[in-house]
Symmetry: C2
Subunit: 361 residues, 2 copies
Amino acid sequence: MTKKCFPARIEHVRSQFDGWGIDAFLFFDLNNIRYMTGFSGSDGVLLVGPDDRSRLLVDGRYLTQAKGETEGLDLIYMADKVETITALLSDQRVHVVGFEEAVISVRLHRLLKAKNRQVKFRALFSEIDLLRAHKSDREIACIRKASDIAACALQSVFSVIKPGICERDIALELEYRIRKEGAEGVSFDTIIASGANAALPHARPGSRKLVSGDALVIDYGAVYNGYRSDETCTFFIERVESDLKAVYGLVKVAHDRAIEAVIDGRSCEEVDRVARELISKGGWGDYFGHGTGHGVGLEIHEAPRISVKSEQRLEKGMVVTIEPGIYLPGKWGIRIEDTIRVTSGKAEILTKVPKELTILG
Amino acid sequence: MTKKCFPARIEHVRSQFDGWGIDAFLFFDLNNIRYMTGFSGSDGVLLVGPDDRSRLLVDGRYLTQAKGETEGLDLIYMADKVETITALLSDQRVHVVGFEEAVISVRLHRLLKAKNRQVKFRALFSEIDLLRAHKSDREIACIRKASDIAACALQSVFSVIKPGICERDIALELEYRIRKEGAEGVSFDTIIASGANAALPHARPGSRKLVSGDALVIDYGAVYNGYRSDETCTFFIERVESDLKAVYGLVKVAHDRAIEAVIDGRSCEEVDRVARELISKGGWGDYFGHGTGHGVGLEIHEAPRISVKSEQRLEKGMVVTIEPGIYLPGKWGIRIEDTIRVTSGKAEILTKVPKELTILG
């Protein structure tokens, strides 16, 4: 990843300070910090101040790493988070500092306020919720590469997916292959859910062994340069019962129509409705208990949300998942998910595994 | 894990309500929730109220899982976090509700306050920081088992650790073996840092290939029943230079003396001082930039902290790491870490790999 993109991202934030009524911004969200600086450590604070030098505060574990990953920032050794921030805010003569309301804890907020009585802290949420939502070509290339790696890895474990293997062993082999193919890691704990376990949308892979006729849900992804892919396949083991075949067909139609509905300017709620109404008309409305999709990027779930309550709109360059599912508790579950790029025309599907009904084993 | 321990843990919290000046507690920290209920999902809220029925709020993804994992709780479907909590607080006629100040975000706190004007929210921090610090025999058995799995896995990859293999490939093989040996996962992203990379205490495994004479830091752990092990070995590849041998000896003495200092009633700061003074006397005081240790359990870093600033005391039943290290930027790093159980006598070392200087390859 080139470092050239970072100054413009910081400048974009700074250019909105007047509108937000602030003269500095303290970032604590590590994904936002990575987005704006390249720093990928597990702790740090970014102060974007009124001048054009931004300060990245890191503790002793990360000074050398931050020096390698970032450019054009003042790196500051943070012995104590609150004290270091306090010294900086005082140095910079900051009056109103914005912060991420959904990230900072009540405790940190209280400590900062107590030490910086001359500073007003302004909570921001909707102003920055979409900060990372529009992806550059370079970011999309990373998600595409992550999707490629994930698909190669999945296809390389098809041969072990047959009656008798347990969910946990499939997860283990798949995650091993994802990293072997060049990913930094997996996007999230892989979901491998068979039979009745598949009725739990967020099941953890367990000791259940596959049996003939199972629906097998595999929800998985790879990380490349920090960017995540997200894809769900539902396979059938050796054979498919006619009722499950019909449900798969319904989920597939909901998935396909929702993807067709994804276009620059469309409301997220409307896209959710397309999938939800189709599933309801099919008689399964009570068995689709989650949203239709979500943004994906440096985080596995980020803005925008594609759900009943979403008030956001899709815009060109956003990357979102479409993932309708039907779950019959105690019996089975079926979900189909792709990660797609919003364009002004037909959405580009970034994930790679074909979603036609597939029998394995 | 038996479910029998959970009611007593909730009761222990409830018995302190009068002292804390609250009549209910809203838990959001998922590790605290798992500790008190067994629920291991990625979202949920636990309301411990004035009566002896506690309420676990989970969304649609987790109803079935929560039913299987918990016992004796009212499971409540949480369509919307703030609305569901609001309805419950009103039903229960709660007046003062405690919450985890270090966990809840400024945003969630604001939304809850706005909807529940009749309720007073009381931030608690030090009162609950040590909630999980004393481990039961059953919890210690899980950490011991996690340590066993980790050590078996590490020993099984010794044969690949030699000049030419890259850090990332060692990490991949080690993490695969940890899960193959029966762990639910790894305690944290494994650190495999060789040569100059080892000077970064939190390095990510990269493409650097081992060369003869390297110091190789492996910081790794396994998860068993939710409980984590934490251990760091520093190996030498093919040979060890005399200066590195001397530094290893110094870190080993600091490690051993600090472990000897760990005893029921001792202050954490004093244990940190034992390691720090030895390293300082050896002339490396400026190159030991982190604390000497930390509690470990459901979380990889939890109370108590063993550091310069810690105000906590060690007590029988706590499980902590001891992990002094010396890091010369651009050159090398050496760290030695064990996870140990505090007793009224000699601490029990739970991690299993011998810490005598070891040459591999």
